[in-house]
Symmetry: C2
Subunit: 692 residues, 2 copies
Amino acid sequence: MTAGSGDVTMYDCWLGYRRAGPEAVVAGSGDVLSRVAVSGASAVLRTALAELVRGLSALTGRVPAVVPEQTAGPLVLIAAPRSAAGAHALTTMTRTRGPADGEDEVIVMTALARPGQVVLTSNTEAGCLHAVFAFLRRLQAGQAPAGLHVADGTASRLRMVSHWDNLDGTIERGYAGASIFFKDGQVTQDLHRVRDYARLLASVGVNAVCVNNVNVTAEAARLLTAAHLPRLARLAGIFRDHGIRLFLSVSFDSPMILSGIRAADPLDPQVRDWWRSQAGQVYAHIPDLGGFQVKADSESRPGPSVYGRSQADGANVIADALRPFGGVVLWRAFVYDCWQDWRDRSTDRARACYDTFMPLDGAFGENVIVQAKLGPMDFQVREPPSPLLTALRLTSAAIEVQITQEYTGQQKDLCFLHPQWHEVMNGRAVVDGDVTTLAHVVSGHKTGRPNGGVTGVVNVGDDPSWTGHVLAQANLYAFGRLAWDPGIDPGTVAAEWVTATFGAAEPVASTVTRMLLDSWRVYESYTAPLGVGWMVTPGTHYGPSVDGYEYSRWGTYHFADREGIGVDRTAATGTGFTAQYEPGQARMYEDIGSCPDELLLFFHHVPYRHRLKSGKTVIQHIYDSHFDGAEDARRMLRDWLSLAGHLDPVRFEQVRSRLELQVANAKEWRDVVNSYFFRKSGIGDELGRKIF
Amino acid sequence: MTAGSGDVTMYDCWLGYRRAGPEAVVAGSGDVLSRVAVSGASAVLRTALAELVRGLSALTGRVPAVVPEQTAGPLVLIAAPRSAAGAHALTTMTRTRGPADGEDEVIVMTALARPGQVVLTSNTEAGCLHAVFAFLRRLQAGQAPAGLHVADGTASRLRMVSHWDNLDGTIERGYAGASIFFKDGQVTQDLHRVRDYARLLASVGVNAVCVNNVNVTAEAARLLTAAHLPRLARLAGIFRDHGIRLFLSVSFDSPMILSGIRAADPLDPQVRDWWRSQAGQVYAHIPDLGGFQVKADSESRPGPSVYGRSQADGANVIADALRPFGGVVLWRAFVYDCWQDWRDRSTDRARACYDTFMPLDGAFGENVIVQAKLGPMDFQVREPPSPLLTALRLTSAAIEVQITQEYTGQQKDLCFLHPQWHEVMNGRAVVDGDVTTLAHVVSGHKTGRPNGGVTGVVNVGDDPSWTGHVLAQANLYAFGRLAWDPGIDPGTVAAEWVTATFGAAEPVASTVTRMLLDSWRVYESYTAPLGVGWMVTPGTHYGPSVDGYEYSRWGTYHFADREGIGVDRTAATGTGFTAQYEPGQARMYEDIGSCPDELLLFFHHVPYRHRLKSGKTVIQHIYDSHFDGAEDARRMLRDWLSLAGHLDPVRFEQVRSRLELQVANAKEWRDVVNSYFFRKSGIGDELGRKIF
């Protein structure tokens, strides 16, 4: 059996289990990798055992023997949570590390608990599977099993990927082919790929998947009915075997769409009864459904405001229906006026989320999770953190990031997003006077509302590489790692992914790692400057259109005129958005002297000759960053081309072709943005470079 | 029988034959309108007789008796071209008027040729039908039949409407519902509406209709095959009965799409043979097919340039195949580089048509008609005339206008286009030192290449009003009248249309006529200023986006910067486009002192403070025209609302709802354009009005 040990393909992603790196380790491991055992008999544990066999077979070149759990001598034991070996290992580790506050799941890998053996365990069954993947990852990275003694916990109860997949197979903001879940209006019966996908997700600790688009059509609302539930239950079963719960996006208007009810008023007893009854039908098919995700009162989706009801009223009626079954409601906080008049400078879309939800803190049911995007706008390449996420005290919250690169290159341009996510997740938050991180607040352990966590709009479709761009697989990988541990360093994660995907050999490993870690900065440098965002082609969101959203209804403006640019969001003279932050952050953003350069135009309107902390003027920064960014894109292509011969031709060519698109895109951004600002400001480039 | 005499509906258009106006006339006509006869027996003459009966029935309230042609006493006689009565009337009129040079069709209405009778005749059978419609129009407008003595001729051999209808029923740039010809990939079998449409076209003298989109898909290329020809032949038959010939748009790649031929090289004998053979098959089904329309080497359509062949080579191979059957090729001259780099200021799309086709003057077969758009760009609200159309000497030409309002309000905004067409058609042209009009040159009688004429991309779909906006019916009406007589005054035509559509009663008649005649100026005033064009939302072409096409590949730029705006197309310092005109016009456009204000920015790049002949600066003109235009839109709505109670509610409401859309659109244009230029120029409005 050599599954995964042969040619690694795009399809394998980071689970190709290449032998290249750890041969010395394997050779030095004695017999411990030649035998495996499991204590326990659940489906997830069976999955864990199968993965352990598959991984060790590939990495060692020998299929390990599966032996009874009580077998003495060298072996790797997967110990169920409540097994004696598991409990012992957990206890030992807890003693060693000290009790970790508020950890939802802990995985343990230890060679010390049972001499000559490696025990993989967790406080949850899914954790045992996660421990297996973590163990294989460490082996592959060169760590010897002897002496292994690791406990790793996560505070994120929810670690979810969300698909914007439509029933016709299209994917909203998808750049990697068609849906792997839906086709021609039906749930797929091709479960092979679903199974492989569940494995990918489990390998990075993802424990929830929402399979359908948050923009729920009338057709998709019917997913809650017997027309689709049996097939959805099959999907749920596959995910269940991998420790992952299925979620569904539902329409707030479901009672109207699916029954004769005339209105979806959340306080109407008829509506309440309908949700209860419908939840019962759904849970009859999928007893462990995670719950529902709801985009309500957002971008023309129906919601409680139609009936004069609050967001809490809307969320609670659905949450009440799910509570008896252990389900939760993910209620999206992406509520703003998408019919804003661009002439109206007093309305600030950035304020909308906090203004709408903060007054309702405490009004949401216990099994409601308010899900807010990373920043106050919409997944731009640079945004300040959402002030709502650090402010909620009485509400479970989830932070939503976008793994699919809607505004960040659409899997044509390389943009490894972990550095952005990491920066925001580890940004300052203050709770009861204690300074902590946004991620810590969101986890809810500090505030006693721990249902939330991290969600990501995923970048996966039926493309042979899953993500349309081989290097975009790293974003999916990093999302899982970040959701598990918001503090983990992007450099560590990039190196992990590169090693698992391409092997540890040079020059590939360091070149690709460097490309990944540089790519967010590069993408930012040739697109919208200094945090102001947008400037994308309306509709598609790929390529430059500086004024594309400037005179539109979307609340997305830069206010560039011949004198300057930027949005005054200060409390003193602007929209007052800065006041939504805790005082320390508020002061930092409010004061032009302390506001970080990279967010200057998000918070302030300044003259083109305003001097940044970097010493450059704003206009010269625009020119320099755009010339540099386009050059950096060319350099990344050259770096990749230098790897010719070191990579399999399929992955090499796919990435090469996309980097060429990126070079063209970066050039277009450079010239359009520079020309726009030169024509508007009349200020020439200090270096006299060509502007059109 | 009261067909048309009851409630007039949107569907009736200008053929509702209302009794309101001409009752006195009818009452004073004695018995002449009570009996009708026809000399001749063709299908077109039968159509003419039926229309005469229908019209007189409605207008007089009595069904006229159809009597033998030789009947003595009062009657209206439709006299076939070669009948004794027809020949006599034609001769009499020719004696009266003197011979008219180069007239393709002459219609005669005379009460003098046969005492007590009105003779309607023509030199063609279609002309007899046209004479009937003209007679009914005059009756309706209040003209008494006694004393009628009119001959009216046209120099336009081709008077064609062109449908951009796709086989799936959609219409490219259609704003009036779905296709009346195609549905679900098939030619329609619902011929009722086709018949009514043929009647509408015949009523204004249109004699050709091209039913499918010039952008021919592989699917639509199959229209030339037996899969579709039988049904197309039924359409052709209906049109034939109305004196109208059917045309088809074909793909230059047809030999490749429909047969195994590997290339469509026009000089390849195999390709030549294929076109001949295929033409034979088509003509076997439709013996009087007008011919083919071809969009080649244009906006990514295939064409002869692929094989290094000229436009003439491409046109001639198809024309040769059609010649034996009397067919012509309409070869579109809309050839330009639609992948232009916006950075490249030396390339000027306006030049492309002339540069490509003028060197080929004389190389086109006799049955090729080179079809050029009215202006050098693409149906903008204001363009100078196409220099090619006045320059060709050895080629039949057609001028193409756009009846469908792609860039002129999309049948939401009112824009009666006849004034624009009239201005261009009657613009200066010089042939052999004689000053004449563009229309006269295009007719070809001066140059001995008289196959051409006037074509229009039509605005018709399956909307209940045909055109989506009741008042946009006037554009279809005016197109026919203009094609017949390019010199006819738009005021006359507007009044004709209003009377036929709504009756002659006040306040409706003068209010609607004024709205029509004012509407082009109003639309221009609130959109792109001073001839520079574009500034529309990319893709949809509705609503403002000043920079929407500025950094694009389409060759459509305004070059606005903080100092000024406009395209330098002079020979002295610009792209040299002005030199494509005959010397008189060239000088006028070249000299900023003589270039008309309304085209200033088409030909010159000027500072915002440049003073127009009007005395205003360019920037103040922009502000004034946009404030005025938005106010004028509101005024048009008020004018319409003042007609409440004077109009049937269906038409009243439809137009009202569209005028409200126009008011909103005009406001958006006003504010976006003014804000854009204020932000860029920094120059305030002299009147201090609100700019954002």
